[in-house]
Symmetry: D2
Subunit: 142 residues, 4 copies
């Protein structure tokens, strides 16, 4: 975690896997969205929460409404990267998460975002999320 | 579907996807097991059944007990292959499925098998499968 | 392929795989980008070209500059979908491809796009693509 | 790394990802083979070698000849596991690697192996591997 001005970014470190690379020798475009997912899960975990607790205990799913990635530099097999995670906004039934993937030399490899709805996992209807999760998110609002 | 002696093999045609190939330029070893899964699903579908019907309507899951693959020849991106599916045995609560992946020239690319348990999807206990599924499987016993 | 007004859309039919679905029971968000990839490969193939020919014979790669998806309705395991593909633009060294994923009842499940650069696969520098490919793309300009 | 009698096992810790789980709620059977791959890569890395060095600098690929997994207990999303890696044998142009996946309570979730050929990445012919890699492997011979 780093503090940038008056908000925090969560920092997730990762090393690109063999299976994630295509025959161009680079991480496949679809895999970046898995990196985003791992990074946001790790943010919750670093704050003593977890997505599995949210889904199983709280009965809340966070399906995606939209996702976006801008690819700046390719990532190779075994390359170490860091993913910075922060939030653009949180509303009653949705939130927007921002991601920046950097190489170890600081170069930006990818910028992206995901927008999530808050959904009751049984009724499959929109609902609010627990206050404790809101408090976590508010620390990372950019 | 082809008839070999006195039993049938199900034939599943497939074309290797870009995302399935690694930086050696070949289909990744883990992907063959997805091919096996697609091939056995297609067998059910060709017999007017489906794995989703089994899981949702009949409440039966088919978790794997074991899987195995012998890799003979690599498969390239966009290469067309056929997967032959038949059954070694069906018992009360398990079955063994055999797969042969061939190139269009008849060369064998891979041979493998999966062994499945029959499990109640709610109780998560072993159980029998519907007679209709047994009848399908018996047609393909090798 | 369908003709909409004065341009064509390529139609790619698909059935969601088991491995593509997560524990919410829906196709995972990252997999939509694989569907996009399969759909644009299929467009080339339907026009007697192929991405492997482009990459191997012509020495051209089409790395992504950006990708985006808006998720409207979830897709379940074994569900049949169609993916409509057309092009927003083609420039000297890039193009933008649009995708609409529909359920069999016509409902839109997802809308998205990918922007690609044209790159020399050996020099890893930007370059033009073969005229034959441009001609194909122009038929699908929306 | 742990020492068992007179040989060492490499220990790779991992946490199951969301995308790796299917709609049964368990890690998909094909993903175990990716875990095996990550575990053997990590063994090399822990010994100041790497698979990328092997493939890029030494020009050696390690394609699979065979892979096998016996599934004992399912693994859930977010569950922490450890993967123990050791070698059954190393020959001139092949080796066999053994894997045991355990839950944190010590229960065995999966046992498996992979057999690899040593191949020249350019000539695509069988060859020996560097002595330095042989020395690493010999420490983990079970």
């Amino acid at each position: 975690m780093i503090i940038t001005g008056d908000f925090m970014k969560h920092i997730f470190k990762y090393r690109a896997r063999y299976v994630e690379c295509d025959q161009m020798g680079y991480v496949h475009n679809s895999v970046y969205y898995i990196y985003f997912e791992e990074a946001r899960s790790d943010l919750l975990r670093a704050n003593q929460y977890s997505y599995s607790r949210l889904e199983n205990d709280d009965g809340v799913m966070l399906p995606l409404i939209e996702s976006n990635a801008k690819f700046k530099q390719p990532i190779k097999y075994d390359e170490e990267i860091i993913i910075e995670v922060s939030f653009s906004y949180i509303k009653k039934i949705s939130c927007k998460i921002d991601y920046i993937i950097k190489k170890l030399n600081g170069e930006v490899a990818c910028e992206g975002y995901t927008i999530h709805a808050f959904m009751d996992s049984k009724k499959r209807k929109l609902r609010r999320i627990p206050g404790e999760v809101i408090s976590i998110i508010e620390k990372y609002l950019n």
